[in-house]
């Protein structure tokens, strides 16, 4: 094991000449190294100019004829998260191929499949980055669109729904934070500001200052199922997630679920929905596969801290793994999270009954079980997250199965 050979701390694997010792008029070391950083950037690692400079300095601190040193200098300076590491290893192996093998990594390499989002609908054109020239729908058209199932829409109608989703108010239910703000009326005494005030008046007792706890948006963790059975809704759900991230970038986490859990929050931070969707499709490696919900909820519990958050799971509950595992993980999730919301697009169908093993295992641990098939359903979900009165109570056709 490469890992164990390193117990002594000696990098004994860098046999042969390093890339920087290329004899006979080879390219300059700096050019070789910046070229490597450029390759990484092309592969999606955020190796910007600043990081590249740090990389060059790091290589300067080490014996650069040893390939292992170049490997570590690059990994330490150019990568920003565990997701970058498989990409880094691949690029390193490809770029410095002959010179030395990249050290083995313990985790399995992720194979990224880049696939345009719209292709999930079966042959649709990829969304253009901006908005199309089609005129926005009128109010009455919107009202009709609002209740239609997105899976049965034409490309143009879906685009209109997506435009409206981008305008969705992604407000959040507030929660009491540990930070305080001054308050003119009432609250606890703010000792620091009061004493400051006294000091300012030369030690004369002054008016008592007060403070109250500040409100912060409650965190939302959203899981979007991108497996085959959800293909017709995945794009719309991701756009809904985008609206949430755009509204509260600091209080939203989004993951895609399928055969593995992938954190896609960073991809969704783009202002432009089209660009954000492009980033997402590049980041998600398992479009249209199966779903192993149990394992992924477990992965979520390890990767993210759902304490106090509203967890939204958008899935049809077609579980390929064990329902027992899902049940156990959902139970744990419901104990940690503030609220667990399950969004099932099929719930919009009046004939729908929650019969699949996955849904039946999960439902006892779910706070809200809502539909997610139409614009109206998404608006209701947004209202739920904003802490407004639940709107679906008004009763809307098939929305209450």
């Amino acid at each position: 094991m490469a890992d164990d050979a390193a117990v002594t701390g000696r990098g004994g694997h860098g046999s042969g000449p390093g890339p920087l010792a290329s004899p006979g008029g080879g390219p300059e070391p700096v050019a070789v190294l910046t070229g490597f950083a450029r390759t990484l950037r092309a592969a999606g690692v955020a190796a910007d100019h600043h990081r590249t400079q740090t990389f060059l300095r790091a290589v300067g601190q080490l014996d650069a004829t040893d390939g292992r040193n170049v490997y570590w200098a690059g990994r330490l300076t150019l990568c920003a998260g565990p997701d970058d590491l498989p990409r880094y290893d691949r690029c390193f192996a490809a770029y410095f191929s002959a010179a030395f093998p990249a050290p083995r990594r313990v985790r399995a390499t992720v194979v990224s499949v880049t696939r345009p989002v719209a292709a999930a609908y079966g042959g649709g054109e990829p969304e253009p980055a901006g908005e199309t020239g089609a005129p926005p729908a009128t109010a009455s058209e919107i009202e009709v669109l609002r209740h239609r199932d997105v899976a049965r829409m034409s490309e143009a109608e879906r685009r209109e729904v997506h435009r409206l989703l981008a305008l969705l108010r992604g407000a959040r239910q507030p929660r009491r934070s540990r930070r305080h703000r001054p308050s003119p009326h009432g609250g606890a005494t703010d000792a620091r500001r009061t004493v400051r005030e006294i000091l300012r008046h030369g030690g004369e007792p002054a008016r008592l200052r007060r403070r109250v706890r500040r409100d912060r948006p409650r965190r939302v963790v959203m899981l979007v199922d991108v497996s085959g059975s959800m293909a017709a809704y995945a794009d719309t759900l991701l756009r809904f997630a985008h609206a949430l991230v755009r509204a509260e970038p600091g209080a939203t986490e989004v993951f895609s679920i399928g055969t593995r859990l992938t954190r896609i929050t960073a991809a969704l931070r783009h202002r432009d929905p089209g660009l954000a969707m492009d980033e997402c499709s590049a980041a998600i490696p398992d479009w249209s596969g199966g779903t192993r919900l149990g394992e992924e909820v477990r992965a979520l519990l390890r990767l993210s801290d759902p304490r106090g958050a509203i967890v939204v799971i958008a899935s049809d509950g077609w579980e390929r793994g064990s329902a027992d595992l899902l049940e156990a993980q959902m139970a744990r999730l419901s104990r940690l999270a503030r609220r667990v919301v399950w969004v099932n697009p099929h719930k919009g169908d009046p004939a729908y009954r929650p019969l699949t093993a996955g849904i039946r295992a999960a439902l006892p641990h779910v706070t809200d079980f809502v539909a997610g098939h139409s614009l109206a359903a998404y608006e209701d979900l947004a209202a739920l997250l904003a802490g407004d009165r639940p709107v679906w109570a008004r009763g809307r056709g098939g929305a209450d199965a």
């Binding site: 701390g9 600043h50 929050t265 960073a266």
Partner: protein
């Protein structure tokens, strides 16, 4: 015996640092060694990320021991603010000073005003203390638990190792402290902060290294027992538990077994001491169901 202090300039190669870490019972792999070496040499903060119990905090403690420097620790939590992390004014003492001056009949208001905002009335919290202590190792532990506002403070401090106090001016470090930040990755830390740092993702140790760590930390631990514990721990980490055991847990477990006089991992003792390594009921059940504690399952 006269002990000579190791300074950063004495550490002239990663190999030398590995020896020192080893001497302080931290068995580092190549990645950790290179990361720590570059952090020392380049004066950059080291950002360590990885699951709980892979030895992130321990590395900072060991670096402090090697440099014979105090470890200044800032444990992050939600709502951590500048008054808790950087500095605070000692208001009661300022008031006392004011009253004393008044009683003494000092009339020069401007002078008193200058006096009460003197450095001696400033309480240094970890970040300011780290700038004023040389040498020192600053450990910013579990940065993912703090909120965005705090990251902004920290970024400012770590960018140029200065803190500006409006009433006094700028306080800067003559030589920047060695800074280690750790994160369990429950939240994505802002990229601007990571860019200031060297980033290292720590994995659980491999089998051989874990055996070496167990035997180093627990001198009475037989090779057989260490190997059994390390192998079972490795399997537990692959079993997809709620909380896979870290090195601290394996050490606790081996120590518990050792206390009960075990020379190898036998199922009865393993079951009796399982609480030392797995702290969730579900995990204990999973491990029992998978048969990881029976000789066949633990060995194989």
């Amino acid at each position: 015996m006269l002990r000579r202090t190791t300074t950063i300039s004495d550490i002239d190669a990663p190999v030398r640092l590995a020896e020192l870490l080893d001497h302080h019972d931290y068995l580092a792999d190549e990645g950790v060694t290179t990361a720590a070496y570059l952090a020392l040499k380049m004066g950059r903060p080291l950002f360590l990320e990885g699951e709980a119990g892979v030895g992130k905090t321990e590395l900072a403690k060991t670096l402090a021991a090697i440099l014979d420097a105090p470890l200044i620790r800032l444990q992050c939590h939600e709502g951590l603010d500048a008054a808790q992390a950087m500095y605070d004014w000692d208001f009661p003492r300022q008031l006392l000073h004011l009253k004393a001056a008044e009683a003494a009949g000092v009339a020069d208001v401007a002078a008193i005003e200058g006096e009460i905002y003197d450095r001696r009335f400033l309480i240094a919290r970890p970040l300011l203390r780290a700038l004023e202590t040389q040498p020192c190792v600053l450990l910013v532990d579990e940065i993912d638990r703090a909120d965005d506002e705090f990251e902004a403070f920290l970024l400012e401090v770590l960018s140029d190792f200065t803190i500006s106090v409006p009433e006094i001016g700028t306080i800067s470090a003559a030589t920047p402290p060695v800074v280690v930040l750790t994160s369990n990755r429950t939240r994505e830390v802002h990229d601007a902060l990571k860019r200031r740092c060297l980033y290292h993702w720590l994995e659980h140790p491999g089998f051989d290294r874990e055996v070496a760590i167990l035997r180093r930390r627990l001198p009475g631990c037989a090779e057989r027992l260490a190997a059994d514990v390390a192998r079972t721990a490795g399997r537990m980490r692959e079993a997809g538990l709620v909380k896979p055991p870290g090195i601290a847990e394996t050490l606790d477990w081996a120590e518990a077994l050792l206390t009960l006089g075990a020379v190898e991992l036998d199922p009865a003792l393993a079951a009796a001491t399982l609480g030392a390594v797995l702290k969730h009921r579900e995990d204990q059940e999973t491990v029992r169901a998978l048969g990881l504690l029976t000789p066949g399952g633990g060995r194989g």
